[in-house]
Amino acid sequence: MVATDKQQASPLWTTTTSEVRLTGTWREAKPDYHVAPSPCHGACPVQGDIASWIQQVSRSEYYGAWLTLMENNPFPAIAGRICHHPCETACNRQQLDETVGICSLERFVGDMALTQSWALPAIKQDDDCSVAIVGGGPAGLSCAYQLRRRGFKVALYEERDQLGGLMRYGIPSYRLDRAILDAEIERIIDLGIDLHLEVELQDQAALKRLHKEYDAVYLATGASQSKNLPMLDYQQPWVLDSAAFLAAMSHGQNMLLGERILVIGGGSAAIDTARSARRLGKAVTILALEPEHLLPAQTIEVTEALEEGVEFVCGAMMQSTQVKDKGVQLHCVKVDFSAGAERGEFAIDVLTGSEFNLVADTVIPAIGQQVDMDRWAGLLAADQGLAQTDQGWQTSCRGIFAGGDMASMDRFVTHAVGMGKQAAQAISHYLRPHTEVAQVKTEKPVGFEAINSYYYPISKRQKQKQTELETRLDGFSEVQQALSDHGAMIEAGRCFSCGTCTYCDNCFYHCPDMAITKLATSEIDGSPNRAQSGPSRGIGYSIKSDYCKGCGLCVAECPTGSIIMREDSGCSTKQESCS
């Protein structure tokens, strides 16, 4: 029979898979997943994990995004409105098209938290240590928040009747809605802060009492004194201090005299003053030393001020004043302005023959604030008009820390928030040296060259809508409107996520050797391009040493610069004895 006649056919048929061959031995370098700082993170005054929370937004994990934001900044809704956003200035995306609208996204998340009344996680343990914080502005509140989160008892002393400091008394409500401000402050106080409003720390004795009563003290009383122009007589009724003006405005008080207002200065305070005055129906002129493109205020502020009819006289200075029948005449001259190496440093040359006159009913200088360090003379050392502190924000007096405008020339709200956070870390370390580890940031931020921009088609930045120009001047409602949900999703999708893995699986799919393992997978994926029936996305990866040949394609195809090649002997796990 055929069956019995049948001879064994050649067995030259494969019997196994190529996995028996350990191609990992070919390798000279091996990819390594790492989290590297993004340029935005490096530039952020609060060291926010920007790439992380934007990715959470892009996955629609809004609460998670908010918690990530809240790690470093208790004021996302505020910062999303008024931060001077050095993050955006540093953003790698501008080398492709335009920077990512980080602030608009932060505001989107911050507002959502308020709308949905999201709560912070409960404080895990209470600590016996107590800290007194003096000053309820952004630095003090930030420090209070961070210390309270760590379980410390926190007492907050504020000399005014409301918290917020500059955020309330310096920034007009058309930039920062008061309901937002109140809500974000309230959320901090609700953590269990021992609040003492309208308590002024009158003298050194009072500070010493606090120092004795509490385990540590944080001073963040701001820079409350206005700098004065020598050529201006501040006793004149037509001279108005901008800080006082803005503070009064925040209470709804109109201190202006006459119809023609002249604001001196080119920073945010000057613009805020001018735009507030415009909203009261006044004709407003700004006189600034700097040429328009070098004005210290944010470009958007200048643009909006121009839109609102504020006139700018830039690159000029006032030399003298003369009161006339129909107002004050200011004798001005054009100057040649050159910026110095340090912020706030500059040089000017008066351009003789360029003299001109301006006329105003009220003159409001807004050229900056300074700290009254004389109050603490003998107790706290001063340095160039600021409280002298070490790297951990501790003053010359052990146990007393200082921050905010009082200790720094970085006069931005978010800088103050960041300083408050850093001081909280330092105080925590001071009080509990074994638990708080100071953050060390040594790695260089991920550069544009590490980003595979192929994965990012040109996409214009999502613009926030603005209130119609016609209605803006009718009151003090916010000019900048929040992004729509859709807009936020698109904007979040523009983020390169520099140095932070987005679990896009590109490394997994671009490995010709199947040498990357998804450590775990998630079916949840909110990204807009995610196909309904697509594969499960990884939530972490590892390299199979047995098979990785070290080609580097995963690195090249990583859209976020989250993988680097490191030299490697090329030994596979099964040949660990290889030497």
């Binding site: 055929v2 006649d5 049948k6 001879q7 064994q8 056919a9 050649s10 067995p11 030259l12 048929w13 494969t14 019997t15």
Partner: protein
């Protein structure tokens, strides 16, 4: 088609086509070439008439035909193809491939002179030149034998996992018409059950064939072919006997014709055997003790059977309808080596007879017998007229 009690009048090529029909191949890649084309046309005709069902491929060349044949075979399909001369030579690369893949394909080759110069005449050089490719080679003398051998070839190929090439001569067999008994399909189905290939392309096992291998594995593949080849002679015998038991026509690796007490034996293959029979009959009548050994199985050459057949024979005349330049007749050479070391080996004369299809008549053969029976054999083949 004329049918009487003796069978159906069929040409050799049409007899092959009927054999193919009865063997129920799954796939048949076919490319036309003179004088094979009637096989192709008849198969297509049988298919068109609904008498058979086969996946017919008509590719652009014999090369592709054989490439498709091998691949189809490795899926477990029964595969048939046919060709001739240039076509077979074009397949050469793949003949090696088929054998190495142990694909049980049946290829029918109509022996024709290979070019150049161009010719369309019976000559076995085309297939004999493929003797080292690893195929089993069978040579048929008549249309009936071609039909029977086609069917048996499947049984042999599938039992040995070695492809089989069946050959018959151009025109003398391919176009010669004779009464052929077409066996019942039932008999054939009993004789040749559906193919069950042990190693095949199968999505269930995922095993692969043909991947680059190392020297040792290649060496082993040849040793395995060697082992398989050693069993072919008896397999051909058994298969021929089984076939004989079913339909009364027995076939073996060799056919002995009037060899009893023969002093002179003529050894040859294919259509020449018919002429030799005629000559043998004449000479026997004249009292000469002459017989014929017809070699049906050329590869593997049935050496033991040949030695046995030639015991006591004084003279052997090998008639080669082929010529290997620089060497001579191929069967002559093969036979000499088959008898190596044989005690009292006969004198072997190699006669290059009918090369290029020239006519070889019975009287020629008689003349050669008388001419060479007493002569001392020389090692080289001799051109004869």
């Amino acid at each position: 088609m004329t049918t009487n009690n003796d069978g159906t009048l069929l040409s050799g090529n049409h007899a092959v086509a009927w054999g193919v029909k009865l063997a129920r191949p799954d796939v048949a890649p076919l490319y036309p070439i003179t004088p094979q084309t009637p096989i192709l046309e008849k198969i297509i005709e049988l298919q068109d008439k609904g008498l058979m069902t086969v996946e017919l491929l008509t590719p652009e060349s014999e090369h592709s035909a054989m490439a498709a044949a091998i691949a189809a075979s490795l899926t477990g399909a029964r595969v048939f193809s046919a060709t001739s001369s240039q076509g077979l030579l074009l397949m050469h690369e793949l003949l090696h491939y088929a054998a190495g893949a142990r694909a049980p394909i049946v290829l029918f080759n109509v022996n024709r002179t290979p070019a150049s110069p161009w010719g369309f005449w019976p000559d076995q050089l085309d297939s004999l030149a493929q003797r080292d490719t690893g195929w089993i080679q069978l040579y048929s003398e008549t249309p009936q034998e071609s039909l029977d051998t086609t069917i048996m070839a499947f049984a042999i190929a599938e039992a040995a996992n070695i492809p089989v090439m069946v050959n018959h001569d151009a025109f003398y067999v391919s176009h010669a018409v004779e009464a052929v008994r077409i066996p019942d399909q039932q008999w054939v189905d009993q004789f040749l059950p559906p193919l069950q290939l042990e190693h095949k392309l199968d999505t269930q096992t995922g095993r692969s064939f043909g991947a680059p291998i190392d020297q040792a594995a290649w060496n082993r593949s040849r040793r395995e072919m060697c082992d398989a080849m050693t069993k072919v002679e008896s397999l051909v015998s058994q298969t021929g006997q089984r076939w004989g038991a079913l339909c009364g026509r027995n076939y073996g690796p060799l056919e002995h014709y009037r060899t009893a007490q023969a002093d002179v034996l003529i050894v040859t293959m294919g259509s020449m055997c018919g002429t030799v029979r005629e000559a043998v009959d004449e000479m026997r009548q004249q009292g000469q003790s002459v017989g014929l050994i017809k070699v049906r199985l050329f590869r593997p050459l049935p050496g033991a059977a040949l030695r046995e057949a030639l015991v006591g024979v004084s003279t052997v005349l090998v008639l080669d309808r082929n010529y290997s330049p620089g060497m001579g007749g191929i069967l002559h050479q093969e036979l000499k080596s088959a008898l190596f070391g044989m005690e009292k080996a006969p004198q072997i004369h190699g006669l290059l007879a009918g090369v290029g299809g020239v006519n070889v008549a019975a009287e020629h053969i008689q003349r050669w017998v008388s001419q060479y029976a007493q002569a001392e054999a020389c090692v080289d083949s001799i051109w004869v007229e």
